[in-house]
């Protein structure tokens, strides 16, 4: 997600948090894989980054 933030013009974690209605710590937790957001927040994040949800979030079998 960090790469997507940078690709979207250097969106900061605080900017993304504000745009999605969560705290900056929640954005950090999502980036570090410590929190799986709700579907609604996932859509908001993808929209704020200007990408599709499948580009921002995907299932990794290695995380099982």
């Amino acid at each position: 997600m960090k790469a997507l933030r940078e690709a979207a013009g250097g969106v900061t974690q605080a900017d993304l948090a504000r745009a999605c209605g969560v705290t900056r710590q929640t954005v950090i937790a999502i980036e570090q894989g410590r929190y799986s957001p709700s579907l609604e927040t996932a859509f908001r994040i993808a929209r704020a980054l200007g990408v599709g949800i499948e580009e921002a979030f995907f299932w990794s079998a290695s995380e099982e």
Partner: protein, 140 residues
């Protein structure tokens, strides 16, 4: 660290200090008498005073440290952390009270029942705040 996590640290510390004071008082009173000392109001009032005082001081310092975050509403992660910690805390309290009631059926000792129920309340509250910290740090 969010203000909510900071708040959980403050309340954990306050509960540990208050609980240590209260049960230290009970142990001292019990060792002075023959058997378990009956519960009295004084130490409970002091325990509540310790909780209030430490939580006010801690939250004021926390608000200064985390300026701008204190009024922020709980987001979905906060709500999930609070809900999961609250669930476990409820179970801890329930198990403690059931243990106290079961003990009462065998001993008919109301003082012991009071201490177990009050202790369960303290432990369940402490568990709730410690679990919140754990969930914030390790993920939920």
């Amino acid at each position: 660290m969010t203000f909510r996590e900071l708040s959980a640290w403050v309340m954990s510390l306050a509960l540990i200090v208050g609980g240590a004071f209260y049960f230290n008082t009970v142990i001292k009173a019990s060792s002075a008498t023959d058997g378990l000392a009956p519960p009295i109001l004084g130490p409970i009032i002091i325990y509540i005073g310790i909780l209030i005082l430490l939580s006010i001081i801690g939250h004021v310092l926390g608000a200064i440290a985390a300026r701008g975050e204190t009024d922020a509403p709980a987001d979905e992660r906060d709500r999930r952390v609070i809900a999961q910690a609250g669930n476990v805390s409820g179970v801890v309290f329930g198990v403690g009270v059931m243990a106290g009631l079961t003990g009462y059926l065998f001993t008919y000792n109301g003082d012991l029942l009071f201490y177990i129920a009050f202790g369960s309340l303290m432990v369940s509250q402490l568990a709730e705040y410690l679990l919140q910290i754990w969930y914030y740090r390790s993920g939920v």
